[in-house]
């Protein structure tokens, strides 16, 4: 069995894992293992061939492979980052042993001082959203179709219906059109799109692809292959309205219906999870409830911009390096951060006062699209900090830079993030 000891072991070589490795290397970790099951680094970026990545990070618009390339080259600059490709992690133990398997080395055991979980997320599938009907070939998740088209060179269908208007679905509508397929319709169960405005304009409107808001697929038909889907309008409770059904002939149905953090490996650690994000509960250093285990990127909460994945993962890598070097102070007072009225998720869910710098950055998503709103951090009815925003959407993560001082000398046990509207007379 292959055995080795490392300061920091990182599970996953996508954008999160690469940035965590660089963050750890820049902060004095001596031996770093970056473990990736694919045959190259980069993760999902390598199949996201469209541009629009890196505007915040690099001040220019890159394609997914270009963004990945910048980090792959950065990782290569640090001789103390060892990259293990074709290596699948089988188990992570509470004692920080990471068991792997690889075709050449067989079973491996990496003993870590600190572990960064960076496994990313998976797509919600047809089973997960329970679409009734036949079970023919031709139903794929949008990301699977993206891999087929962009890496392997196959078209998943010639006449396609896309369920869900998340960005991957919108991007695939354009991609399939450019490759010669016909996209008959995009259906969205919500009354608003979950994708970026830019993608609605450039992926659908540019190609005259119809978007049906407040609509869903109620049945899939076809024996060997999809031949038609039944669509219907939905009411305010998202239930199909009888009598509104119509059929669209197609040979392919793509699902772009959400992403779920991939925490199969983290479950066995006995760490605390956040039901709203689907990922571990972390503090601002991205340490989970188990000391020395850190999490960052889509395994923690699903991001919409890779730029924030990189920033968050550098934080996790830096924190892991400090932990491995014995530089992390004993935990101070822990303040719970809760998502209140109008807020769907907030990360981190804890503030460790002993580890806090001058500012604490909160990432959050609102529950519904809002204009002229205020994000307010409250405790016991008191507002500790407030920030006005001209616009917030569930699909676009908002960031809030909170000065540590607003927690006061004697920080409360819990603080709650809420959405308020000054123009509706709500007190801020």
């Amino acid at each position: 069995m292959f055995e080795a000891e490392y300061d920091v072991v990182i599970v996953g070589g996508g954008p999160a894992g690469m940035a965590a490795a660089v963050g750890a290397a820049q902060n004095g970790a001596e031996r770093i293992a970056l473990i990736e099951r694919d045959d190259e680094l980069g993760g999902i970026l390598q199949q996201c061939i469209h541009n629009g990545f890196g505007l915040h990070r690099f001040g220019e618009e890159l394609t997914g492979p270009q963004y990945a390339g910048r980090f792959i080259r950065q990782v290569a600059e640090y001789p103390n980052i060892e990259v293990f490709l074709d290596t699948t992690v089988l188990e992570v133990t509470p004692e920080k042993q990471v068991y792997t398997v690889n075709p050449q080395r067989g079973i491996g055991r990496f003993q870590a001082k600190a572990v960064v979980l960076a496994m990313g997320c998976r797509e919600r599938s047809r089973g997960a959203i329970a679409i009734p009907g036949h079970r023919p070939a031709g139903v794929f998740t949008a990301g699977t179709a993206q891999r087929m088209v962009n890496r392997e060179g196959y078209l998943p269908g010639k006449r396609v219906v896309i369920l869900g208007s998340g960005d991957i679905g919108l991007i695939m509508a354009r991609r399939l059109t450019l490759e010669g397929a016909e996209v008959a319709a995009v259906l969205e169960i919500m009354p608003y799109s979950n994708g970026l405005t830019r993608n609605i304009v450039q992926c659908l409107e540019d190609f005259d692809i119809p978007l049906y808001l407040s609509h869903t697929v109620t049945a899939v038909k076809g024996a060997a292959r999809v031949t038609e889907v039944t669509c219907a309008a939905v009411d305010e409770e998202l239930k199909p309205i009888p009598g509104t059904e119509f059929a669209i002939a197609c040979d392919c149905l793509l699902l772009s219906v959400g992403l779920i953090p991939e925490n199969e490996l983290s479950r066995s650690l006995g760490i605390e999870f956040d039901r709203r994000t689907g990922g571990p509960v972390v503090d601002q250093t991205r340490q989970t409830s188990a000391a020395g285990f850190f999490a960052a990127g889509n395994v923690l909460h699903v991001h919409d911009l890779v730029d924030w994945v990189s920033a968050e993962s550098e934080t996790a890598g830096r924190s892991a390096a400090r932990y491995a070097r014995g530089l992390r102070a004993a935990a101070g007072r822990l303040v719970r951060v809760e998502a209140g009225s109008g807020v769907r998720v907030v990360v981190p869910q804890r503030i460790d006062c002993a580890a806090a710098g001058e500012y604490i950055e909160l990432y959050c998503r609102v529950a519904s699209p809002e204009r002229n709103l205020t994000l307010a951090l409250t405790a016991g009815g008191r507002t500790l900090f407030a920030q006005r925003l001209p616009l917030a959407k569930p699909s676009e993560m908002a960031t809030l830079k909170v000065p540590k001082d607003c927690l006061g000398e004697n920080p409360p046990e819990a603080i709650t993030l809420v959405v308020k509207h000054a123009d509706r007379g709500e007190e801020i």
Partner: protein, 123 residues
């Protein structure tokens, strides 16, 4: 020629919705856009809309495709034609990131470049 179009601005996340008009003398007037960048985007959308193109080309002997990108935006009405033309292109590995794959596509003064590296043989 008179032209009027409703346009959703994509310059920033605010997504202003406005209207752009082109009159017979070629004057452009707008309504509903709230910043200079939005105004110039709206004008360009009506007069000469442009888009970046990303697609793939085949790699000889390889089992994966090479992703490519235009080095500048192309006229929107040429996007499909350019994508069609690139389906016939095959490149030889190795390929360096940024390498020109199709110079001056359709004589539009825009190069199509590789957006990643492909290593030789094993690549």
């Amino acid at each position: 020629m008179n032209k009027t179009r409703k346009i959703t601005c994509i310059v920033c996340p605010l997504g202003c919705e406005g209207e752009v008009r082109l009159d017979q003398e070629g004057n452009v007037t707008t309504d509903g856009f709230t910043c200079k960048r939005g105004l110039s985007y709206a004008r360009e959308e009506l007069t000469a809309p442009k888009r970046m193109l990303t697609t793939t080309v085949r790699v000889a002997g390889g089992d994966r495709l090479l992703p490519v990108v235009s080095d500048r935006p192309l006229p929107k009405d040429k996007i499909r034609e350019c994508a069609r033309l690139l389906t016939a292109v095959t490149v030889e590995a190795p390929v360096a990131e940024g390498q020109v794959i199709c110079p001056d596509i359709l004589g539009l003064g825009v190069n199509i470049i590789a957006s990643r590296e492909i290593k030789g043989a094993a690549g």
